[in-house]
């Protein structure tokens, strides 16, 4: 279980507090107005944003003092998930060994991850010649390869068209299910939340609220969320 216990983040005039629990294997959307602190929340869990107060636990063990690499998670950003000077194969292989000195077994693992994300033919290409969808797949291949139990998605599919985005959401949901991973996904689109996330955390007015069932939440949203969604 992921627990955010009495969390407080203060950055200049910005404040965000959170006290919530997310079950192992849950798929949770994070939704809220721009600037509310969705990325800050994920950044704090990942170890990029220092906590002013509180604790983050995974399966009962505090992880908030650990450096990002030692936390049990993988993260995908909106952009720049791949290093431009490396091939797709090497970008994915970074997930096993940043020195890229792979043995035969590790190379086979990378190839499997690429095949499962439909990139086997593009392994030797550089990111610069790939489409947005292929780049997203490469990022997901690395997430798959790392096999960490917590997957954080900071709007990695925001720039994709509707059909491609849906395809990526299906792929990420399948990967999370197969690995038994917990998924936290920032989105601005309620349809994305409804599509793969049975639960949703609302971030608004300086507070990240505990997860609620997505469908019920979107049918009867609290005033801030309703104003953001334009339903009231």
């Amino acid at each position: 279980m992921l627990e955010l216990e009495d969390l407080l983040i203060v950055q200049d005039d910005f404040r965000l507090s959170a006290s919530l629990r997310i079950e192992v294997g849950a798929q949770v959307a994070v939704i809220g107005p721009s600037g509310a602190g969705k990325s800050t929340l994920l950044g704090a869990i990942a170890g990029f944003v220092p906590l002013t107060r509180g604790a983050i636990r995974w399966q009962g063990v505090r992880i908030d003092a650990l450096p990002p690499a030692q936390r049990p998670l993988s993260i995908l950003f909106q952009d720049n998930n791949l290093l431009p000077h490396l091939s797709i194969f090497d970008n994915v292989a970074l997930g096993i060994d940043p020195s890229l000195r792979l043995n035969a077994g590790q190379r086979a693992q990378v190839e499997t991850a690429l095949a499962r994300t439909g990139l086997a033919e593009l392994a030797n290409r550089r990111p610069g010649v790939l489409s947005g969808g292929q780049i997203s797949r490469a990022g997901l291949a690395r997430v798959l390869l790392r096999g960490r139990p917590l997957i954080l998605l900071d709007e990695p599919f925001a720039a994709l068209g509707p059909a491609l985005k849906r395809e990526m959401l299906d792929l990420v949901a399948r990967i999370a299910r197969e690995q038994g991973a917990t998924l936290l996904m920032i989105t601005h689109d309620p349809a994305d939340a409804l599509h793969i996330c049975p639960q949703t955390v609302v971030v608004a007015d300086g507070v990240a609220s505990p997860p609620e069932p997505t469908e019920a939440l979107l049918q009867d949203p609290p005033p801030t969320l309703a104003a953001y969604l334009g339903t009231r």
Binding site: Q11, D12, D13, F14, G35, T40, A46, G47, F48, P67, P68, A69, Q70, R71, L73, S74, I75, F77, Q78, D79, N80, N81, L83, P84, H85, L86, L94, G95, P98, S99
Partner: protein, 531 residues
């Protein structure tokens, strides 16, 4: 062909813009081609011969420029890395200080370096106290020391710009994937340096290729004379115009060859401020110590000489000889004229380049042409042209102002053009759709985005002009000196107290004129909303 991407085409350009641009192009052509033609004619190619001392000057010029570039950039790499990944009180001030040597008059820096590394300086005194033999700052080592003093901060800022362009996501990715030092170097820092370092080396090499004032004060003699210094010596000591012209021709050829060789590189733009964004995650342990040492060393290297200039100058400021104040007035006159010319040329060329993107590369190329012919080359040519008709001393101030403006123009265009082009790309179509005329477009759309880099460019031009010790030495006679020239005479006559006061005066003058123009024209830095 006009395109939809160039909405400015849809308006008629103001005549004034084209007039300014045409006048600037003509002046620059006359300055560069006129001077080079005069040099070529007077050098009598085929008749004059390079003497052994001239070959030595050529070798020394290339050697010191190469070593200065290598040392400055190699030392800048750990300093930039430390500044990029550390945050500490005074971090921003130190990054801003890194820009100071660029506007610092050469002679002021040399005064400070002499106070630290000179015969009676701090370092030699300390060596003497522990029974070790002192060292001489004069010669190649002194020239390199001064060039590194000027260019290490510049190279650091250029590499720091490279760090600031590494996407924050890549740094976070490195943290999540657990990159160690080697992986960080291989995947993040190495590729970034591969993009930035060639340009940084090229800039420092080009700057040092035309070194005059440093070589004049810390070099000299058969083993430490640059081509620029050799030109001056041919004028002053032998009045051998033919030899001066031949040397100037070689210097111009060298500049052209260097520019052609470096044409494929992306030269960095002029950074103003900033460079204060997301840093790589701070590592612990030994790297913290090495980062600290790099930061302290570079801060001491920059601050101690400047602090000594201030401390040694203050007691003598009030008792400066009257000639120093006269020279100050001359310097201010030169700077004022130079800034007006720089402002007109920058506006004319930049706006014309914006209006006609087809002509833009040519206009920018003409603006950059001063990089080809050094001040001494232009000065030599102009001297040859003027000498039969008029006493060159009478032209000292206007020629110095024109040459200073031409020398500052490449930097001004590098600062102003990108800002103008961004403003036009972002808001050009909106402006057209609102029906704004050319002047309203200039006032409401371009000027607010232009004024900060423009203020920076003019401040830079004024400071460079006030502190310049270049072409003026060929033209000025006794009584017509500028402040740097007067300071050089005081230093040469071992009037150390007067020189200390004059150095401080020059330092204050350069910095205050830069800050005043940057603030006056650039306005206050806009405040941005928080995250």
């Amino acid at each position: 062909m006009p395109s939809a991407a160039d909405p400015l085409w849809q308006r008629r350009p103001p005549v004034l813009v084209w007039g300014l641009a045409a006048a600037s192009v003509l002046l620059l052509f006359a300055l560069n081609l006129g001077a080079l033609s005069a040099v070529f004619w007077r050098a009598e190619p085929g008749a004059a011969h390079f003497q052994p001392a001239d070959w030595a000057a050529l070798r020394f010029t290339l050697l010191q420029a190469t070593l200065s570039a290598l040392i400055s950039v190699v030392l800048a790499i750990p300093v930039a890395r430390a500044l990029a990944r550390r945050r500490f009180p005074g971090h921003r001030a130190l990054v801003v200080l890194m820009g100071a040597p660029f506007i610092l008059p050469t002679l002021v820096a040399v005064s400070g370096l002499l106070a630290v590394f000179g015969r009676g300086g701090m370092v030699n005194q300390a060596l003497g106290r522990v029974g070790l033999e002192g060292f001489s700052i004069y010669g190649l080592q002194g020239v390199l020391l001064a060039h590194v003093f000027f260019n290490l901060p510049l190279a650091t800022r250029l590499i720091l710009q490279g760090w600031s362009r590494v996407p924050a996501e890549h740094l976070r990715l490195a943290a999540v994937l657990g990159f160690d030092r080697r992986a960080m170097w291989r995947h993040i820092e190495g590729p970034m340096l591969a993009r930035v370092v060639p340009g940084a080396l090229a800039v420092v090499f080009l700057i040092c290729l035309t070194s005059f004032a440093v070589a004049l004060t810390l070099g000299g003699g058969p083993r430490a004379t640059t081509l620029e210094l050799a030109i001056y010596q041919a004028f002053r000591f032998d009045f051998d115009l033919g030899r001066a012209a031949l040397l100037a021709l070689v210097q111009a050829g060298l500049g052209l060859a260097a520019l052609l060789a470096l044409a494929g590189l992306t030269l960095p733009g002029m950074a103003m401020t900033g460079l204060d964004r997301a840093a790589p995650p701070p590592p612990a342990g030994l790297t913290r110590l090495t980062d600290g040492v790099a930061i302290v060393m570079v801060a001491a290297f920059l601050l101690v000489p400047l602090a000594l200039v201030v401390l040694r100058g203050v007691p003598h400021l009030a008792a400066l000889p009257v000639q120093v104040w006269g020279a100050t007035l001359q310097s201010l006159k030169v700077a004022a004229l130079s800034v007006v010319l720089l402002a007109l040329a920058t506006c004319g060329l930049a706006l014309a380049a914006l209006w006609s993107r087809r002509a833009a590369p040519w206009l920018e190329g003409v603006g950059m042409s001063a990089l080809l012919a050094s001040p001494m080359v232009i000065g030599t040519g102009l001297f040859i042209i003027a000498f039969p008709f008029i006493s060159p001393a009478r032209l000292a101030l206007p020629v110095t102002a024109v040459v200073n403006a031409a020398m500052a123009l490449p930097f001004a265009l590098r600062a102003v053009l990108p800002a103008l082009q961004r403003a036009e790309d972002d808001y050009g179509r909106l402006s057209v759709s609102l029906g704004l005329g050319p002047w309203a477009h200039l006032r409401l759309v371009l000027w607010p985005r232009l004024r900060r880099p423009f203020g920076f460019a003019l401040g830079l031009g004024a400071a460079l002009s006030v502190g310049d010790l270049g072409v003026i030495v060929l033209f000025a006679q006794s009584g017509g000196e500028t402040l740097p020239m007067q300071l050089h005479r005081l230093m040469g006559a071992y009037r150390t107290q007067d020189a200390a006061g004059a150095a401080l005066l020059l330092l204050v003058l350069s910095l205050s004129i830069f800050v005043m123009l940057e603030r006056l024209i650039g306005g206050k830095e806009p405040r941005h909303a928080g995250a």
